[in-house]
């Protein structure tokens, strides 16, 4: 039985904390029995190391085969579900978002508004047909009204253009008549002889 303050085998195998290791060292220096026990352990270890490590008879290596390799997405997905840390982080993030959303969402007068239950109606085929007809009629009426309004606008534009053309025609006729009158008046007056004609006499 060892009288060492700590297990001599733990000391020998370097499994003690530094402070404990130093205590055993100090004890071994003064204890013949523990020194001899430690020596037997060292001899045993040295004997065990007579078995040398062997070289591996055949090197191990892998080749890349794209067919069997997972895609980047599959690797990410596999890593995500295979990692407790990533799953934990994702769960914590989702929980945080949920808490923030719950905290900042508007609440009317501090009271929760009861949700309106959805009304489930059962309609007969005739009711469905009548509703479809009504919807179609309404849609057709809207389209017709829109087309009629466009037609009226076009007619109004056309009428306005016609009137402008009539005014322009009457103005043109008026100015034509005045031009003719000027020509008639001018032909009634004879022009006086030019000075050049007088010198030639």
């Amino acid at each position: 039985m060892s009288c060492s303050p700590f297990d001599l085998r733990d000391y020998f195998l370097k499994e003690l904390p530094d402070a404990d290791q130093r205590q055993v060292e100090a004890h071994v220096r003064t204890c013949q029995g523990c020194r001899e026990e430690l020596e037997r352990l060292r001899i045993t270890e040295a004997a065990l190391f007579a078995l040398r490590e062997e070289e591996i008879p055949q090197r191990i290596a892998f080749v890349s085969d794209k067919i069997f390799e997972p895609s980047g997405w599959q690797r990410w997905w596999g890593a995500f579900w295979g990692s407790a840390a990533r799953l934990g982080f994702a769960s914590a993030a989702m929980l945080s978002v949920a808490i923030v959303v719950y905290a900042v969402r508007p609440v009317g007068q501090g009271r929760a508004v009861p949700a309106t239950p959805p009304v489930v109606q059962t309609l007969s085929e005739a009711q469905i047909d009548s509703r479809v007809d009504a919807a179609v009629t309404k849609a057709v009426a809207v389209v017709e009204a829109r087309q009629q309004a466009q037609t009226q606008k076009l007619m109004a534009d056309l009428e306005s253009t016609r009137r402008r053309l009539l005014v322009a025609a009457s103005e043109y006729e008026y100015y034509q008549k005045r031009t003719n009158a000027f020509r008639v008046t001018a032909s009634n007056y004879s022009l006086p002889p030019s000075p050049a004609q007088g010198d030639g006499k």
Binding site: A47, A50, L51, Q58, R59, A79
Partner: protein
């Protein structure tokens, strides 16, 4: 101290992203240790090599599940331990795994009739290891030959540190009785 331009953790991260070249480099760093661990708990070179290949394939397939690259070594050895014991169960399904012994003779661990460790002290060591229970032998291999801490051994073997220490210290007592006199006589 060996300087490594690329740390194991970087290789693990690259391999997890599907870079086979990075994984091959990682395998080249660990294959000898894993092979020798498997050789010492199975006592058979062919089994050790087959198991080592299975171990590294399984590790590659599950590399994305390794959260902390710093825990790669115990994680890898845990796979190796499971693969070895799975093989033991397949070969002797009716036997309790605790009773399964590696192939051994009085002269030591053998492969195909020839001794794996021919020298006299090596034979004595192999013989002494062969007399341990599989659990005790594995504890010695992981601690003495592979240099794992107790916590890492507990992770590899999935049992408490107290159990690990119990197995290891019992084994050391038995080995001490058998090997210390041989070594003291200067046989090597």
């Amino acid at each position: 101290m060996i300087f490594r331009a690329v740390e194991d953790a970087d290789l693990i991260r690259q391999a997890a992203r599907g870079k086979v070249e990075a994984y091959n480099l990682l395998v080249s760093r660990w294959e000898k240790r894993v092979y020798n661990y498997l050789l010492r708990i199975t006592g058979n070179r062919e089994d050790a090599l087959d198991l080592a290949q299975d171990v590294f394939l399984k590790a590659y397939q599950n590399l994305r599940k390794l959260d902390d690259p710093a825990r790669f070594a115990p994680w890898l050895y845990r796979i190796a331990h499971n693969e070895a014991y799975s093989m033991f169960r397949k070969r002797r399904p009716e036997a309790d795994v605790e009773e399964i012994e590696p192939e051994s003779t009085e002269g030591g661990i053998t492969v195909g009739g020839s001794s794996v460790f021919p020298m006299e002290l090596s034979l004595a060591v192999a013989s002494a290891l062969g007399r341990l229970t599989p659990d005790q032998r594995e504890a010695v291999v992981l601690k003495i030959y592979q240099g794992f801490k107790f916590e890492e051994m507990a992770e590899i073997l999935a049992c408490p540190v107290s159990t690990i220490k119990s197995r290891l210290y019992t084994a050391l007592e038995l080995l001490k009785i058998e090997l210390a006199p041989v070594k003291s006589r200067g046989v090597s």
